[in-house]
Each structure stands twice: as structure tokens, then as C-alpha cells.
């Protein structure tokens, strides 16, 4: 048996354009490939990728494998899985990563089932065990108080998905060199019993949360639906959008679209303000890549303070109305929003 070698990431394209999550995957993969002293390869399935493959190299890939065919423009699980599976069997990478998008979450389990190997969903940390050369996959575990580290000792490739936006792409370096391989497609692999009849674009669904620079997020500590709804006004004053913990969503204060965390969205804003959120690993899983975290909580021992740059130990029942008063007063004075001052 040949020894599996190399780190692969499964990039994504939409309508022939490379999706930015591909660059995030390259940042994840680059660190692992460097530790293992192996190549980082990016597999792209779709159309019109070869022309753009250079940018994947600039973002960290040593080799880009382009699997192009007009019938591969949109993701269909059967052909994508067959094509990637045959490539994996041929080249035997030791690690295969994808994003936890609807594509990655559909494709990766199918691949792992066929390849008879392990798959860890929604990892928040990936590293290499130096003694065994094994991939250590870390994800928040049940109950929400711990992080579990998982490995795949004997089966290959070691597979994991990572949340989109959980890591920033590396800065592009146009001077990086790499190889672009255009693979030939075996047309017999393109069929599928599932037929795509159409696509209805929903512009409101294109979530502003994941692209927001400032997020005002609330949790159970806000105590009432009314106080949670004040966050929308605060966010409007500050030019941000509203996020929520799962508790807040479960209490019906916000829709699931606002949920940040393991079973919600991953965000990486410049500033994340957490109000009345305890900071369970399941929540942190979605916001730990924020550049700066400001937390307000009445409990000085709340775990959220461990990841905050600025912590305010305060009762929100008292602080929030006063903050709103200030923001409203300033708006009246300035005739405009913004941070004022």
C-alpha cells in the first residue's frame, strides 16, 4: 500500500467564479501542509476555473487540480462525489478539507462513506500531532462546555469540514509559484438520477450577518424580548447588524437566521459586541475569528470574558436603556447616526 501524502482542500465556485471560502480553506490547509512538509493542493470542480486558478496559488496552493465540464457548473452530489472520489483514490492525499457549506456538508459525508474513512464536521481548530503525523480535529462537543479533539488513526484520507468565515484567507502573494493541472473528466461519471429543475434566487437570504463589520449580539441575559428588540435600534445607530445566541433564538427573540455559533453562522466582523451571552464553546465556535470582542455581562466569571478584548461587568437592565438614551440623544443632536462623540 502506498503511503497517503499531501493536503487537499476542496474549493468552491459559483457560476464559474471562485468562491472566497476557497481562500479560507487554503489558509487552513497551508498551515497543515507546512507542518507536514507536503504539498497543498486545491481541487476545483466546475467550469471556468482554470483561468482563475492562479489566484488560488497566490493564496497558498502549491497545485490546483481543475475538473472542468459544462455539466459541472452547479453542484450535483452524484457526479461531484464520483469525480472527487476517483481523484482521491488515484493520488491518495492524507488530508481532505472542505467548507461546511450546503455543498461541503452534502459531498463530504458521501465521500467519507465511499472511501470508508472518518469525517469530523464543523471543526474550529485543526493541527498536526507532531509524533504521529495525524490530523487533530477540534470541535465543540455536546453540552457546550468542552472542546473535543478527534483523530482518524488508521483510515485515509483524514477528512474534516470547517465553518465558512472561521478563518481569514492569507494575503495574496502573486509571486508564489505553483502548478495548474487540468484533469480529464470521465464522462461516464457525470450522470445523476437527481434532476435540477431550477433555482430561485432569494436576495434577502444573502445573509448580511456573515458580511457585517459590526455585530451587536444578544443572549438570554437580556431577559426580555423587548430588550432584545432594542438591539435592532442599537445596531441601526452603530451601523451594524444583530446576532443572537441559540438561547435567544430558542426563546423566540430572534429568528434562526440571526444565530451565531456551531449550529448557526460563523462570522468574522471587525467588532463583535456580546450582550448577555455566557460564551459557551458552541457560541464561541461562530465568532472567535472576530477581530475585536466587547462583552457585557453581569457575571464577572462568564466565559465570554475570556475571549473578550473589552469586558464590562454590568446589569443590562440598567445599562441598555441608558445606552439607548445616549444614542437617541446624539442622533437628535447630530441629525444623523454613527458613533458620534
Amino acid at each position: 500500500m502506498t503511503v497517503a501524502r499531501g493536503v487537499w482542500v476542496l474549493g468552491e465556485q459559483r457560476n464559474g467564479r471562485i468562491h472566497p471560502v476557497s481562500y479560507e480553506l487554503l489558509a487552513w490547509g497551508r498551515a497543515l501542509a507546512d507542518d507536514l512538509h507536503v504539498y497543498l493542493e486545491c481541487v476545483m470542480v466546475g467550469t471556468g476555473i482554470t483561468a482563475a486558478a492562479k489566484s488560488l496559488i497566490a493564496h497558498g496552493a502549491d497545485r490546483v487540480r481543475c475538473l472542468e465540464h459544462s455539466e459541472l457548473l452547479t453542484f450535483r452530489v452524484d457526479p461531484y462525489a464520483r469525480i472527487v472520489e476517483s481523484l482521491v483514490r488515484e493520488h491518495q492525499p492524507e488530508i481532505l478539507l472542505a467548507a461546511a457549506t450546503t455543498m461541503g456538508r452534502t459531498l463530504m459525508p458521501v465521500l467519507a462513506a465511499h472511501l470508508h474513512t472518518g469525517l469530523t464536521a464543523d471543526c474550529t481548530g485543526l493541527s498536526i500531532d507532531p509524533n504521529e503525523r495525524l490530523l487533530l480535529q477540534t470541535r465543540p462537543a455536546i453540552g457546550g462546555n468542552v472542546l473535543a479533539t478527534i483523530k482518524t488513526p488508521e483510515h485515509r484520507p483524514q477528512m474534516a469540514t470547517v465553518h465558512p468565515k472561521a478563518r481569514r484567507p492569507l494575503a495574496a502573494d502573486p509571486s508564489r509559484v505553483g502548478e495548474i493541472v487540468v484533469e480529464t473528466i470521465d464522462e461516464s461519471l457525470l450522470g445523476s438520477r437527481v434532476l435540477r429543475l431550477g433555482f430561485e434566487e432569494d436576495l434577502t437570504m444573502a445573509s448580511s450577518l456573515q458580511d457585517a463589520e459590526l455585530i451587536v449580539a444578544g443572549g438570554r441575559g437580556l431577559r426580555t424580548a423587548k430588550r432584545f428588540s432594542d438591539l435592532f435600534e442599537i445596531a441601526a445607530h452603530l451601523g451594524g447588524v444583530v446576532g443572537a445566541s441559540r438561547c435567544a433564538v430558542d426563546l423566540g427573540w430572534a429568528s434562526h437566521a440571526h444565530q451565531v455559533g456551531l449550529s448557526g453562522k460563523s462570522v468574522s466582523p471587525t467588532t463583535y459586541i456580546a450582550l448577555g451571552i455566557s460564551g459557551s464553546p458552541n457560541h464561541l465556535a461562530g465568532m472567535s475569528s472576530a477581530e475585536r470582542v466587547i462583552a457585557i455581562n453581569s457575571d464577572a466569571d462568564a466565559p465570554i470574558f475570556q475571549v473578550a478584548d473589552v469586558g464590562l461587568v454590568a446589569d443590562l437592565a440598567d445599562l441598555l436603556p441608558r445606552w439607548l438614551d445616549r444614542l437617541r440623544a446624539r442622533k437628535r443632536r447630530d441629525g444623523q447616526g454613527g458613533l458620534g462623540g
Binding site: H116, H256, P281, Q306, V310, L312, G341
Partner: protein
């Protein structure tokens, strides 16, 4: 012609106080309050709605792998209108990861051939992987439709809407097919009293590894490619300055907040 539907349901703890076995990293499931995985209720509801339209020619089997108390989750589904319950249970199944779980369920499904539709929840609230449904489809060789928020069944074909990034994809597929469903699909019904009585009278078939003709080396912890190696409590990541509003006063706290917000990170 008889339409046969199988719903895969999982029993999950209803509280968050699940404990992990420190040695194996697997969940300790005994002595917990548990119920049917909330997302699986939508899969059950979908099956029962198909049956509502053709009560005499639709047969719904509920299949679950779990400890013997998972019977109660199966009874919940029977009370909603399913016809038959099968529990895959045995020591050899303990500690299964998603691959071993999928393998076990597929062995159970083999005994139910032929069927037209397999329904799963999109993910379970305990493991939160969402991997089991797609893996079952792959190991069974069934076409797979994930993220389903609408489903219609018409003369041997399923048409479904998939909620994906940026919109809704509409697909169709001839039967048989496996679909993983979202919360938005429907509003699960509450079991009626008559349903509960009926569920109570139905026998639930319990099968172990031998009963489903499984390869023992592929079951449970032994058959799981993944291992939990460490369970840690998250460590400090940032250098936090704490500001105590009670000591400094609320207005001073607000000043501090606003100054922090103005400062670029």
C-alpha cells in the same frame, strides 16, 4: 401499489447536561431525559402527510439505532401515525461514530427492501454533524437530496426544494430516494390519544448486530474510523480588561464602552 417509506429517527437528550466518557470520548446516554430528535419530527410528519393522502396504500416504518430506551422515541413516531417500529440495539453498537452508525442503519434498511423513500432529519441536536443521512444514502446507493424544505410525491417521482446559499434549488428524482429535511418543511402534529393507544399496542422489533447480518468489525467503537482523543476546557485567548460598572458607575461604564467602540481594533 403500496408506497413504502422509512423514517430514520434518533433519540437525543433533552437537556444540555450530557456527559462524556473520559476514556472513550463517547456520550453517556443512560439516565438522561430524552426525546425524539426535534428535526426528525419533521421527517415523521412528512411521511404521515403522504400517508394521509393514501392511507390504505402507504406503509411507514420507523428505524432507529440506540439503547433500549430509544423505544420511547419510536413510540412517539408511531403515535403520530407511523405503522411499524424497528430498533437496532445491542452492546456491539455502542460508541459508533457517523460512519459506523450509517453502516448499522444501512444493514437495518437492507431488511426492509424494497422501499420508495427514506427520510432523515437534517441533523441531530446532540452530535450536530448532519452526516448520517448522506452517509446512509451513499452506502445504500440511493440518490440523495439534502436541505429539503418542500417535498411533493407524485407517481413514482419526488420533487423537492432545497434551501441552499442564496436561494432555493428545485430538483426531482425518481424513487427510491433519501431526503434530509429541514425544520421549515412542516409543522409536526401532536399525537392524538387514539394514536397513543395504537402506538402502545404495536410491537417494536428489536434487532442486534447478528439480526441485521452485520460485519461485527464495522460496528460500534471498533468500526468507527474516528477516535475522540481529548476533551478540553477552552483556554484564555485574549487579554481582557474588565470594567466593573458597579464600582465605577453606569455612566462611566457607558463612557468606557463608547471609547472602546471608537477605537479601531
Amino acid at each position: 401499489m403500496l408506497a413504502r417509506i422509512v423514517v430514520l429517527i434518533k433519540q437525543v437528550p433533552t437537556t444540555e447536561s450530557v456527559r462524556l466518557n473520559e476514556e472513550t470520548g463517547t456520550m453517556i446516554r443512560t439516565g438522561m431525559d430524552s426525546a425524539i430528535n426535534p428535526l426528525d419530527l419533521h421527517a415523521v410528519e412528512q411521511a404521515v402527510r403522504i400517508k394521509d393522502n393514501a392511507p390504505d396504500t402507504t406503509h411507514i416504518t420507523v428505524l432507529s439505532m440506540g439503547p433500549s430506551q430509544a423505544r420511547s422515541a419510536i413510540r412517539e413516531a408511531l403515535a403520530m401515525g407511523c405503522d411499524e417500529g424497528i430498533l437496532l440495539s445491542g452492546r456491539e453498537f455502542a460508541g459508533a461514530d457517523t460512519w459506523a452508525t450509517a453502516y448499522t442503519l444501512v444493514q437495518g434498511l437492507r431488511g426492509l427492501f424494497p422501499f420508495d423513500l427514506v427520510l432523515c432529519g437534517e441533523r441531530a441536536t446532540d452530535g450536530e454533524t448532519g452526516q448520517v443521512g448522506p452517509m446512509v444514502a451513499a452506502l445504500c446507493g440511493l440518490p440523495l437530496i439534502t436541505y429539503v424544505n418542500r417535498l411533493t410525491w407524485d407517481e413514482g417521482t419526488i420533487t423537492a426544494c432545497r434551501a441552499i446559499e442564496g436561494g432555493t434549488e428545485i430538483v426531482s428524482c425518481p424513487l427510491p430516494v433519501l431526503a434530509c429535511v429541514l425544520r421549515e418543511l412542516n409543522e409536526p402534529r401532536l399525537p392524538t390519544l387514539a394514536g397513543k393507544v395504537r402506538a402502545h399496542e404495536l410491537d417494536i422489533t428489536v434487532l442486534d448486530g447478528e439480526g441485521i447480518g452485520a460485519d461485527k468489525s464495522l460496528l460500534g467503537l471498533a468500526g468507527s474510523p474516528t477516535r475522540v482523543v481529548k476533551v478540553i476546557y477552552p483556554s484564555f485567548q485574549r487579554n481582557t480588561q474588565l470594567f466593573l460598572a458597579n464600582d465605577e458607575g453606569m455612566e462611566a461604564a457607558l463612557d468606557h464602552l463608547e471609547t472602546s467602540l471608537r477605537r479601531a481594533p
